[in-house]
């Protein structure tokens, strides 16, 4: 009796921590099962410290992957190869399943291309590490256009207008940018700058505000906002800024036109219904229809995904702040808020896979660019803290 009681007590005592452990494990287990279903565990390494560091920074920003130190589903290795190339090697269970070498304008760019190859082979998603960015850096009230790679390497100052530059946008061939600047006479005009010569030419300089210029996907047209006829309206011109034709005529504010991936439609912001909302119209002109997102009284700055033509990202007011939302034109998923920024999340621009995007985190007198995985809401800073960086535009890959 004594012994059996002792035995039960011992059993009970032993089971206490086990119970606690089990509760803990179950909690962690739920999370990890969820992650397992959505992420692919990979080991990522480079043969040199530079490649190792950069490859890990890149994969860390990708929501489809979970980096592990061992036992991943795939082992992805990068190594310098002949002629400044970088070779990607993908192993599964010790066996090499793919190897390919990539060149680039630098070893850094070659690595991004090799890493994009690895992303595509392992996940089936289009890679985006080799994207180029244009963005605004603000210093002492001056706003200048800069370019760089996705992880803020090879940053180059493009404008030295000593003024306020706004909204740089890539041409589809990556050779030019359109942007708005107050530099010449204090009025906002649209300029085009050639990235090889840094030659700047006036694109559109009508009376009133000339802003928000964006190329069509084939580079042959430019949509923009002009207020020279009395009210901000959407216009479309040739790639040379000629044959400017009005597309809207309302008493409301129109803003932020963006072409659909096939170039046939425009999505834009209008407050014709009271607050700013999204509208879609044929790019050649015609009837516009409101995109009922039913998510916020303030929907602005839409960006139509090339990677997934059903998706439009935009900025919504939530309470007193702003967050990024995604609307699915196919109707398969409801319109949803995808960012959880501590301050504001604004200025979304899609990356090539139709899943990740870049946005600006804004707090008073601070701007910083982040990569956001719209499926997991994982958000990774790409510009440094303490530098005011905003208004990203993406080119490629």
């Amino acid at each position: 009796m004594q012994n059996s009681l002792r035995f039960f007590l011992l059993l009970f005592a032993l089971s206490l921590p086990a119970l606690a452990l089990r509760a803990q494990v179950r909690d962690l287990g739920d999370v990890s099962i969820k992650i397992d279903a959505k992420t692919i565990a990979v080991t990522v390494s480079g043969a040199t410290p530079e490649l190792d560091q950069l490859a890990n920074v890149a994969f860390n920003a990708h929501g489809r992957f979970r980096r592990v130190s061992s036992g991943g589903a795939f082992d992805i290795r990068f190594a310098p190869a002949a002629g400044g190339q970088v070779e990607a090697q993908i192993r599964k269970g010790g066996a090499v399943v793919a190897t390919q070498a990539f060149s680039g304008s630098s070893q850094r760019q070659a690595l991004f291309r090799a890493a994009d190859f690895a992303v595509e082979r392992v996940s089936g998603l289009k890679g985006f590490f080799a994207s180029k960015l244009a963005f605004i850096v603000e210093r002492g009230g001056k706003m200048e256009v800069h370019t760089g790679d996705l992880f803020f390497g090879e940053v180059r100052q493009i404008t030295r207008d000593n003024s306020q530059a706004l909204k740089p946008r890539w041409s589809p061939d990556g050779r030019k940018l359109l942007y708005t600047s107050y530099f010449k006479n204090g009025f906002p005009d649209i300029y085009q700058i050639d990235l090889s010569s840094l030659q700047r030419t006036a694109f559109v300089t009508f009376r009133g505000t000339n802003s928000s210029a964006r190329f069509s996907p084939n580079g042959q047209q430019v949509a923009m906002v002009l207020s020279g006829e009395g009210n901000p309206e959407i216009y479309v011109s040739t790639a040379q800024g000629r044959q400017v034709a009005r597309r809207t005529r309302t008493a409301a504010v129109e803003a932020s036109p963006c072409f659909s991936p096939d170039g046939s439609q425009l999505v834009y912001t209008s407050d014709a219904a009271g607050g700013p909302q999204l509208y879609i119209m044929p790019a050649g002109g015609g009837q516009s229809r409101r995109l009922a997102t039913n998510i916020s009284g303030y929907c602005a700055e839409p960006d139509w995904s090339r990677g997934n033509p059903n998706l439009i990202a935009f900025t919504v007011r939530v309470g007193r702040g702003y967050q990024i939302a995604v609307h699915d034109l196919s109707g398969r998923t409801p319109t949803r808020i995808v960012s959880k920024a501590p301050g504001d999340a604004i200025e979304p621009v899609w990356l090539a896979d139709g899943r990740h995007l870049i946005y600006t985190q804004r707090s008073p007198n601070a701007r910083r660019l982040f990569i956001l995985d719209t499926e997991t809401s994982r958000s990774t800073a790409i510009s440094a803290a303490g530098v005011q960086v905003s208004e990203a535009s993406v080119h490629g890959p």
């Binding site: 009133g208 505000t209 928000s212």
Partner: protein, 189 residues
């Protein structure tokens, strides 16, 4: 100061610093020219002013200092002579309380036939840049529309939107209300 855009006030400050540094031979004022010298004689310094260090201040907060709401004028323009038209949040309607400022502008133009107006629309820093640029445009246009309704020729009016570019961030609500405005700038040419 509140009325001047950030950049302009910075420029003014920079000029002030520049000119201060440029004067070749600072003229020393003759002691007899100073207020103290003219008054009670050299020995009659106010004893309470002799130790005017921080410790001697009752209230060091400097809360009594006020921004200069002055007029800035150069060969091209006059800023601050007519007060800005203020708008409600997300609105571009001219409030009845703001009409007197536009009436003053109309009166000014009738007395200065060769001058014109630049109406400059502004927004607070909340919201999004491109929509705010449009909102600034519409605020300026609303002011223009009112001016035209009281007889100002449209050729006399230029419009510019600064959107939220010059807005003060992290401001209290009363400052943000001051960012929602149309500046009335007089163009002398």
């Amino acid at each position: 100061m509140k009325l001047l855009p950030k950049t302009l006030s910075f420029t003014l400050l920079a000029c002030a610093v520049l000119f201060a540094g440029c004067s070749k031979k600072p003229k020393r004022p003759s002691p007899s020219d100073t207020v103290l010298g003219q008054g009670a004689g050299a020995g009659a310094l106010d004893p309470s002013a002799a130790d005017l260090g921080a410790a001697g201040l009752v209230d060091p907060s400097a809360a009594g200092l006020q921004n200069r709401s002055g007029v800035f004028e150069d060969e091209n323009m006059i800023k601050g002579l007519i007060q800005p038209v203020y708008f409600d949040f997300d609105s571009s309607a001219i409030k009845a309380s703001e009409r007197a400022k536009l009436q003053e502008a109309q009166k000014y133009l009738s007395e200065h036939a060769d001058h014109r107006l630049l109406l400059e629309g502004h927004c607070d820093w909340r919201g999004t840049a491109e929509y705010n640029l449009g909102l600034g445009d519409r605020r300026a246009a609303a002011a223009r529309q009112y001016l035209e309704s009281i007889g100002v020729a449209s050729a006399k009016i230029e419009i510019r939107s600064k959107g939220d570019l010059d807005a003060i961030e992290n401001a209290a609500e009363d400052q943000m209300a001051k960012d929602r405005r149309a500046e009335i700038i007089i163009l002398k040419k």
